[in-house]
Point group: C2
Chain length 190, copies 2
């Protein structure tokens, strides 16, 4: 999506460790007009899959998931992060490893919000190793629901998550796929 790629090129900053900082428009500071367009694009890309719920993970997935939910007029659930791995008796839960932060955390979704028969569209801001999506997929499975696809704003195409999830049969649509980035330049897959 050219709109997003252009914005990444003009405002993105690449930090050591292949961290792409887009905090001027996608997290910390949000550009609602841009993000509403991303939401409309995800709605277009996944309309045929007929999702009835969107699932994302706090914090930075929320605005994009919300915009997609506004476009599709369906509820948005955000999985909550916990640092402890207490037993959450009344909640679906899974453990996610964060490479960015070098730690594990538990994500939970209360049982009342996901059920058998739900057709769930996963939305997140970044896809790299795919560990966050793995965690959300596990929660969808615990609920007996079906994941109908995953919409990602920015995929790091040089990391393995996207290829692995697609080869497992998940429909993954990323609005910008980074082919290569270093401190001087960033290139996208066509």
């Amino acid at each position: 999506m050219k709109l997003l790629e252009d914005r990444i090129k003009s405002e993105g900053r690449i930090l050591p460790g292949n961290v792409l900082k887009v905090s001027s428009f996608l997290n910390h500071q949000l550009d609602p007009t841009l993000i509403m367009e991303l939401g409309k694009e995800f709605a277009r890309l996944f309309e045929k899959e007929a999702p009835n719920k969107i699932l994302t993970i706090e914090t930075s997935g929320i605005p994009i998931a919300f915009a997609t939910g506004a476009a599709l007029k369906i509820p948005v659930i955000f999985a909550k992060k916990h640092k402890t791995s207490n037993i959450f008796g009344d909640a679906y839960n899974s453990v996610v490893h964060s490479y960015t932060h070098g730690c594990d955390y538990t994500v939970i979704v209360e049982r009342e919000f996901l059920n058998q028969g739900d057709r769930v569209l996963l939305i997140d801001d970044f896809l790299a190793n795919g560990k966050a999506l793995d965690g959300l997929l596990e929660i969808v499975e615990q609920a007996g629901a079906k994941a109908v696809g995953a919409g990602i704003a920015i995929e790091k195409g040089f990391q393995e998550g996207g290829a692995r999830l697609r080869s497992n049969g998940l429909k993954v649509e990323s609005l910008a796929i980074i082919d290569h980035m270093d401190e001087n330049s960033i290139t996208f897959l066509e």
Copy 2:
């Protein structure tokens, strides 16, 4: 705002300690159609104050702030919560006490996103003691910016935050003000 009050009456649950749980539409699970309407209402209420930025606090303030930013077509900044009180040299920061969680946390906003001359509209989901708004006001002051008002989805009118902030001269607009609640009923101020 009748739309919100009706939803609170039908889906809100009151837990011990005067905690109002609205996680089926305002946090955890979000109703984007409802929340977009709340955003439009805040845009209408604060249009005259000509805000150029919105400031909220993660996590549950984000959707409402985002919807307001989408209606006003201005950027939305969310202050990030940290459990440590490290020195954040490059960020505005303040310490907030959470009565709900019984702990202090630090909220930060990177300096590049708030500047002198900014007219900042604060948005949050709940107002009770007003400690979160106090923290955001302190950050606005550190930036040399001006807080032009605060838009709140649900105010607990029986707690002191709203009265205190209004008497300090802040324009506070709450879409639903709870007069009284217990396990059996909830009433709103007209």
